[in-house]
Point group: C2
Chain length 459, copies 2
Amino acid sequence: MRKYFCTIISVLVFFSNVNAQSNDSLNIRKIYNEALTSGKAYGWLDYLCNSIGSRLSGSAQAELAVNYVKKELDQLKFDRVFLQDVMVPHWVRGEKGNAFYKPTTAGALLPVSITALGMSIATPQGGLFGPVVEIKNFDELAVKGRKEIAGKIVFFNYPMDPTFYNTFRAYGEAAKYRWSAAARAGYYGAKGVVVRSMTLATDDFPHTGSMGYSDSVQKIPACAISTIGANELSDAIKMYPQLQFFFKQSCEMKDSVLSHNVVGEIKGSEHPEEIIIVGGHLDSWDLGKGAHDDGAGVVQSMEVLNLFKALNIKPKRTIRCVAFMNEENGGRGGAKYAELAKQNNENTIAAIETDGGGTSPRGFSFKGDSMQIEKIFSKKYLFEQYGLHVWMHGYGGADIDHLEKQGTLLIGLSPDSQRYFDYHHAASDTFDKVNKRELELGAASIAALVYLISEYGLK
Amino acid sequence: MRKYFCTIISVLVFFSNVNAQSNDSLNIRKIYNEALTSGKAYGWLDYLCNSIGSRLSGSAQAELAVNYVKKELDQLKFDRVFLQDVMVPHWVRGEKGNAFYKPTTAGALLPVSITALGMSIATPQGGLFGPVVEIKNFDELAVKGRKEIAGKIVFFNYPMDPTFYNTFRAYGEAAKYRWSAAARAGYYGAKGVVVRSMTLATDDFPHTGSMGYSDSVQKIPACAISTIGANELSDAIKMYPQLQFFFKQSCEMKDSVLSHNVVGEIKGSEHPEEIIIVGGHLDSWDLGKGAHDDGAGVVQSMEVLNLFKALNIKPKRTIRCVAFMNEENGGRGGAKYAELAKQNNENTIAAIETDGGGTSPRGFSFKGDSMQIEKIFSKKYLFEQYGLHVWMHGYGGADIDHLEKQGTLLIGLSPDSQRYFDYHHAASDTFDKVNKRELELGAASIAALVYLISEYGLK
């Protein structure tokens, strides 16, 4: 009898699992179909990029973007839409930077494309002029030391390694030359630094991005040079080691200003106290239009809530989309969100960030409790027909990273990375570089994962 | 003793397998690294698109392209480089087509973007003008029948279905409306057809492509209308069912001309009689530059041989790259290649075609002997780190399909399909739409598969 009873239970559990699976599969299909036929993400991105434009923290456009996202979320009549106050640094680029090199004393001035690195100081008003030393890496810098570096402009020519399949790995390895170049070279008395752009493309766009100074080292101006410029300059230095370099930039750090994260929320029907957030960052660098970085992530996050609403799927757990402010040059929005979550005793069970561009989604990376991650990995098979094969342990994202201490499972969407750094932080990061379907597939993929976490929780 | 002996054999086999595997893995890594650091494919594609341009069969540019590919292959000093003569149809578009609709008798003429479908006849010199009937599918056409169709211009407004993840499936379903529209509507006495472009993008590019007539039905002119144009026209017809449509095109079928396939070969060191071919088609439609379709496939195929040469990998079996002529409007090059292979008693063990664009490779599809396919599937794990997860039974490609009767295993590269039909057969298919790394990854993926087939054969 007991055996018989157990069999019945097993059969019931089996069928309820089969039913749940097929129901999940159907709901996920609905989510993808809705995104691909009636999604709003692409239209929102068009407006953000083409009607507002770049959105550097502290700029007027950043505030226009805050108001726009809030207005759009308000119109969708979610349960709550609100702003979070965030004080953000206000760095401005000033005039377009310019640079030349002069191979020989009698030679012509040859222009190269540069732009100030984010948070850099300006050059003296008349620009900075002097001999230039090319170095390949920090080891070489240390070997040259003060003797060969002091009084010079140091040209960091470390290319991203094209042999990494995932370009984020190549970026992760190279980006320290952008971040620390000024502090490291300044330590040996350099008077300025020129850093090869962090991109795998060979083109004439300089790519900006944040750099940092050391409190104990004299601040010196830092700029990025396009990869074509870097190659030309490197070739010229080989022929004319006495070559002189000139660059001029008028960037400036102003007083911090008040800005905002924008949050939309659908309350959970069964466990409203358990919160799942999906987010991207609303600020962008000022050279392009912040299309892939990270307008895409913002509109995909908005789309997640929109898809639930449009399909009338009531999530069991609370879902929030967050447009974070100031990821690029301060990370204040992410920090503020985590601070307020702690202050309000919120239980953020999972946070999904998308800040890798709007290309075809290939998978997710997860950081947190390994039991929770295994539970999610068991659902991977539901996503393979939509091209998401790469589920791995890894980084979640800069904005959500602050939530790690609160026990939140951190998740990053992994789009195809091949073309991302062609546009990243450069004037080429414009709306036309984003493909509508690829953007929609990313949004649907996040929504599908949110749906599963909302249905089953993570315990 | 026997047991002991068997153990030794097993251990030896195990280690030789392990060694073979790790050697394969290393060689595949070398192939990818070489493609990503020193590949020639992108430069070749630049020349094909930007110095030669579109390459419709029978055009002067198609012959320039034949000569260019032959010259480049000659310079690489493969074991053999040769041309195969192919007679190809010579259809010319003539003047740019133009079209208008006129909502009411008093209304203005409103322009829409059209282009002649490939192989269509011209309109009368003064153009074609008349009432227009919109239909959604062939069933609806049959219901309307001669009574409602005769003497009208029929507008086939069948959109590609955006909910297919793989856009080739949506294309496969919709393309019959391009191919058969004129024959089907002509059967009911229509005087012309206008076909919604086969694309998932909403834009103003009309997409051409081959159509066919029926011998038993009067030929009528056929054009493609952009998706924006199709949407406008459809909206206008709803408001003004009496709307009149005008289009004019001066395309023309000329006498067939002599053209060529271009073949490069590296002879196999151990089994030269077993041949593996890799190919794409050199001809393209005349509106764009044939970048994704199929300059990408041609230069990736050339790259495969180049990678073997550059890395000094001597293939055990013979490898050929083939730039096929006339895939777009006749398929004569593929047919001729197979005919000559048969005539020469060649043993083509495998043929890999790439005609799905130059985007990130996602896998391969296979058509042929299931034991051979299983043998290849056992190597899939070597490709996952390069993003190729989708290995399936399916179509090889139009040019290699003729080899099926010769027992050849047919293989198609499957690139990410999301953006392909944005450019396919349209003026937007230009060099800037192809990403260098994605192109290189595709070439390396084919080369890696060729390497394995060449090493191990298919028996």
